[in-house]
């Protein structure tokens, strides 16, 4: 006979706060810089030679001879705002679409919702942004909207794929049997079932959105190409990567922090859910031992 270990599972009580702290720390730095940075800057000094490190310039100069530190302080707000706004907007559009497609039993409706998106998918996103933006000449806000729109087909497909399974569960039938409305079923149940996938997708998409905006700026659309914007900085200063690395490394690290922080926070937030919401009563074999009597 082998004794089975008894276990009192204190799920991740030690590691979860740690992950929260790490995520929060990673996120706090860029967020604080973004919020407070613009308040800390003075007027611009004269331009120096590009990609040099003259005295008085903490992080040297960028491709246009501007002070990198000053640009870093100024450049967070737009990044944070654009990333958040575009991601939120993208999902505000993609979620209803995807859930409608996943929850409907009418093939024609699903096709009607999803096929036009496929058309947009077939046009490379950068080309799309480039073409539309040149034709309509949007401002920074318009560009954020456009970038969000470009991401909609993509997000909608992924959400639909993960929602399709949840939408076919008996629980959904039971909800229907209770006369629950579409919204409640979609957002209250199906969305909840795909929460993890949604979070994973949104986390990465946010970063993608940032750089799409930056690349568009480089191609002359939207934000000014010498704008103080971390993503634009990474993009434009890359030519000086080996001469004056700070101009790329610092904003890139801030973006990495922003993206990693959000994702880690999301992961940590979701980590507890799984055990609490698990459908099974049966859980995997215990790992930790406690109180062998």
């Amino acid at each position: 006979m082998r004794p089975l270990r008894l276990r009192a599972r204190r799920p991740g009580f030690l590691d979860r706060p740690g992950r929260f702290a790490l995520g929060a720390l990673l996120l706090a730095l860029p967020l604080l810089l973004a919020l407070l940075g613009p308040l800390l800057t003075g007027p611009p000094g004269p331009r120096q030679a590009a990609f040099t490190a003259p005295a008085g310039h903490l992080l040297g100069t960028d491709f246009a001879g501007q002070d990198v530190w000053r640009q870093v302080l100024l450049g967070g707000r737009s990044v944070v705002l654009i990333a958040l706004a575009a991601t939120v907007l993208c999902y505000a559009l993609a979620l209803p679409l995807a859930f409608a497609a996943a929850l409907t039993h009418r093939t024609w409706l699903e096709e009607l919702l999803m096929r036009p998106l496929d058309v947009l998918l077939a046009v490379p996103s950068l080309l799309m942004v480039l073409l539309v933006a040149t034709v309509f000449d949007p401002g920074a806000v318009g560009l954020a909207v456009l970038v969000a729109l470009v991401n909609v087909p993509d997000a909608a497909r992924i959400v639909r794929a993960s929602a399709a399974e949840a939408a076919a569960r008996p629980a959904v039938e039971a909800l229907r049997m209770q006369g629950e409305g579409w919204c409640r079923i979609a957002l209250g149940y199906v969305a909840r079932c795909c929460l993890r996938t949604l979070a994973a997708d949104a986390g990465v998409r946010m970063t993608g959105v940032l750089y799409l905006v930056a690349t568009a700026a480089f191609l002359g659309v939207g934000v000014a190409p010498d704008a103080a914007d971390w993503a634009v900085m990474v993009d434009r200063n890359r030519t000086g990567l080996f001469v004056q690395p700070w101009a790329v490394v610092v904003p890139a690290l801030l973006i990495v922090g922003l993206s990693m922080g959000t994702n880690l926070l999301g992961d940590a937030g979701l980590a507890g859910r799984n055990r609490a919401a698990a459908r099974p009563r049966t859980t995997p074999r215990p790992r930790t031992t406690k109180g062998q009597p």
Partner: protein, 493 residues
């Protein structure tokens, strides 16, 4: 050439030239749109290829004066409207000699009204119907009007001589130093030495042009030993590798004029005080530092620094914000708001625009920078807008004037239209004496310096990287001149 900017210039070209080997040169390409038709050549890669395969009658030296090439000499008549060009003994790759008929055929092809080749405008002064071949080696060109600078036309961009009757360029036959082995557009072109080249056979056995659009790809390929010549590098790259010793950096000075073009025919720039104020707003050193990464020289609101006829004696203009403010006040243009059109069409444009915006702000002028689509930028700014970023490649000063500053000029981006100015130019073209002409050009430039539409703030270096073992690369030839991208005098040490 010798004595360039590079520190190891002295030991650079030592030793006798050596024959043999293959040189790979990376140029930004035009993708699948690259062409072997020399008359269609528009991109630097096309031009370099055309130069290797073909010859012009003349080409520009380092100071942008025409040097004889296929033409051994040229003689005008008194009235300067009939020029006799004598060809030197040269042969095409198929062994056929280059004749007057070839020259006339080529020029007529370029000028074909149905074809719209780039140098059609350059050849405009020639009356090709009336021009004729005197004998096999002599062409008589009749001109529509006296043209003292006729040899400039022979050296015009794209005026290459192809064999009579050529229609297809899939197997091009030229008289250049190299002959074609293979060509795949957007990828590579392989050429081999033409042993019977009139100017002496090249040292290289083979020359390969590879297309690499991205600057970092070109420098990486050079550093990695995948190419031996990388055309068009950025100042930052140059700085990063100049002292590294892995590659040599060649800076071709005065290659590209950098300017802001003001439209002189509309407010606010129809007032010459406003134009002068703008001249005074610019801190040229800061612009060169910031926008060109220091790789260039400051300008004096005149085209052609270092070229023949350049008005060197005019005082260098410097920033003077007080005077600028004063002039603006006089002109009633306080709190002036201007839109500066720019685009990412050329290196440094958007940077310069941003810097100038900040400089102008200090003089109380509010500039809004508007970014344009690079693909249509040049035609966008030609007629619309008031202020725009501008640049120009190397060309003789007189060509610059004739193409951009005369009432009838087709690309008059500053809308500089003055009858007296036109008259001065015509007078110069009818003047046979070079010094007299120089004096006339000087008068014209003085006027432009005082009240012209071009705020020329700098001249960018053209930066080329070569492998350590490459010798014979010209160090003083501005882009587009004869010795630029010229590979028949280059050898592998």
């Amino acid at each position: 050439g010798s004595g360039g900017g590079s520190e190891d210039a002295s030991d650079g070209d030592q030793g006798p030239p050596r024959r043999g080997g293959r040189l790979r040169a990376a140029f930004a390409g035009g993708g699948a749109n690259e062409t072997l038709d020399p008359h269609m050549a528009g991109l630097f890669s096309d031009v370099a290829r055309a130069k290797a395969l073909y010859d012009k009658l003349a080409d520009f030296g380092d100071d942008l004066t025409p040097r004889p090439r296929l033409a051994a000499k040229w003689e005008p008549n008194k009235a300067l409207d009939r020029w006799t060009v004598t060809l030197r003994k040269a042969a095409f790759h198929n062994g056929r000699p280059v004749t007057a008929a070839d020259v006339l055929f080529s020029y007529r092809r370029i000028a074909d009204p149905k074809k719209a080749f780039r140098s059609k405008a350059d050849l405009d002064p020639i009356d090709l119907k009336a021009s004729r071949a005197v004998d096999k080696a002599t062409v008589e060109f009749r001109l529509k009007r006296p043209t003292a600078e006729f040899p400039d036309i022979l050296a015009a961009f794209g005026a290459y001589i192809v064999p009579e009757g050529t229609e297809s360029f899939t197997k091009p036959v030229g008289s250049g130093p190299f002959r074609l082995v293979s060509f795949s557009p957007g990828k590579s072109t392989v050429l081999r030495r033409f042993d019977d080249y009139w100017d002496g056979a090249p040292y290289l056995d083979e020359l390969e042009f590879v297309a690499a659009d991205e600057e970092s790809a070109r420098i990486n390929a050079l550093l990695g030993g995948q190419v031996e010549y990388a055309h068009e590098l950025s100042p930052t790259t140059a700085r990063a590798h100049e002292r590294g010793g892995q590659v040599r950096i060649v800076r071709l000075k005065n290659s590209a004029m950098q300017a802001f073009a003001m439209k002189t025919d509309r407010p606010p720039f129809d007032d010459k005080r406003v134009r002068e104020a703008f001249f005074l707003i610019a801190d040229r050193a800061e612009l060169v530092r910031g926008a060109l990464s220091g790789a260039g020289e400051i300008g004096n609101d005149l085209f052609g620094k270092g070229y023949a006829y350049y008005a060197k004696d005019l005082p260098q203009r410097a920033q003077d914000l007080d005077r600028a403010r004063h002039l603006l006040k006089q002109a009633g243009a306080e709190n002036l708001k201007v839109t500066l059109d720019t685009s990412d069409v050329a290196a440094g444009f958007t940077e310069a625009a941003g810097i100038f915006r900040d400089q102008a702000a200090r003089a109380g002028v509010r500039i809004t920078v508007k970014n344009h689509n690079p693909d249509s930028y040049w035609s966008d700014i030609l007629d619309s807008g008031t202020l725009c970023s501008y640049r120009s490649g190397a060309m003789p000063i007189e060509t610059h004037i004739s193409q951009r500053l005369l009432t009838g000029s087709t690309t008059n981006a500053t809308k500089w239209r003055h009858k007296d100015f036109d008259a001065l130019y015509q007078q110069a073209q009818s003047t046979a004496d070079r010094d007299e002409r120089a004096a006339l050009y000087g008068r014209m430039q003085r006027r432009l310096h005082a009240e012209g539409g071009f705020l020329v703030w700098g001249f960018a270096d053209w930066i080329v990287g070569t492998a350590k073992n490459i010798r014979g690369v010209a160090r003083n030839a501005p882009a587009n001149s004869l010795d630029w991208a010229r590979f028949d005098k280059v050898w592998l040490a």
